[in-house]
Amino acid sequence: MTENTMAKPQKFFLPNPYAEPAHLQLQGLACSRGLRLLFEGISQTLKGGEALALYGANGSGKTSLLRQIAGLLPADIGTISFGDAPSHAPSHTPSRRVHFIGHADGLKNALSVGETLVFDAALWGAPKAAGNTNDLLALLGLKNRAWQAVGDLSAGQRRRLALAKLCLAPRPIWLLDEPMTALDEAGQQLIDTLAGEHLAAGGMIVASSHVPLGFATQTLTLGAST
């Protein structure tokens, strides 16, 4: 890592954090919930620097697909592979290469914003050089909120705070479930900025959304047939 990259206060990504071959491949994925088949035959390949936008009506399986890629939900049929590594789908082992930001943000109401960041950094094994807390708060638009309890934050502010781990621990694949929900214009811009930096660094993003995502290089609409 070079000195000048770390000196920039806004830059939280280490230079080339994604050393492994950047490549995400979905082959013939299918998912059913209960007796309902949500989708089938999903095949898509993402290379480093590419982002896939998932569109589709409510209940079309966007979240399920993201959870399958994260390894939280086993794929009924089909495989998911990262780089040259074999598919993890049959063994159902979640990957340490993804960040998943879902609707349930996993934030603890009893902690303060500052504590959340400190714990996040430790829980995700953030590299020491990952920028300091105040810079990160400023980046997320939560400046001077370090002492506020997470339980007192608004929905949009929680959303912003949940993004912190994306900056703290670099992982090549981001899975974002409707990232724009509850965010104001500045917040949506923040997502665009973070996503842009991530893609520029060779990362990949799969994001579901109901609004067009500016950073997407590919799109996939689920449930078009039903």
Binding site: L72, H92, F100, A104, D105, G106, A122, L123
Partner: protein
Amino acid sequence: MSVFWAICRQHVVLAWRGGHATLAVAFLFIGVTLMPFGLGPELALLQALAPGLLWVVLIMALLTSLDRVFQADYEDGSLDQMLLMPLPLEFVVLAKLLGHYIALVLPLLLAVPLAGLLLNLAPAHLPMLLLAMLAGSPALVLLGGIGASLAVSVRRGGLLTVLLSLPFYVPVMIFGAGATKQALAGEIDEARLAILGLISLASLLAAPVAIAAALRNAVR
């Protein structure tokens, strides 16, 4: 390793702020103070029953909070994140249970001698009582965690956790109360203590695997 301790520390902080320890200790004392009203004030009788009563009340006090160990994480989405952390889920589970032990069981064990005195145990009996509880209590948390993880996706699963955990507690209860009873006779029951320790060690090996499997199933 630092991830392990961070998970443990976070659990301690959250349990402490949630007031679980205070509640559990209060529960312990209320349970113990009610006993003489039900059993009568005969000191000899209370002392004879004290080992069993203390173990029962300890288990009940522990179960007041055990159902929330993983359920809070399930509800707020932390469980998804736990599966993605740079540490196998088995160790994440172990870190959380260790945090639970520190935040809850240690305060309870500190309160037990005082509760014992209320049941007419002599100060000389207390070291043995504590030793038995120290040997057996890890098993209580670990085995209770299995119940908690199975009931994690059930709304108001607290009672279910209790129902699932109690059968596992029977051996700990038998040997724990047995060892404590021997202490009343002035003997050190090494065999029962060793068995308690064995149960704790065995659950240390088995419980995290079982809990992790149950949790993986719950997030699907």
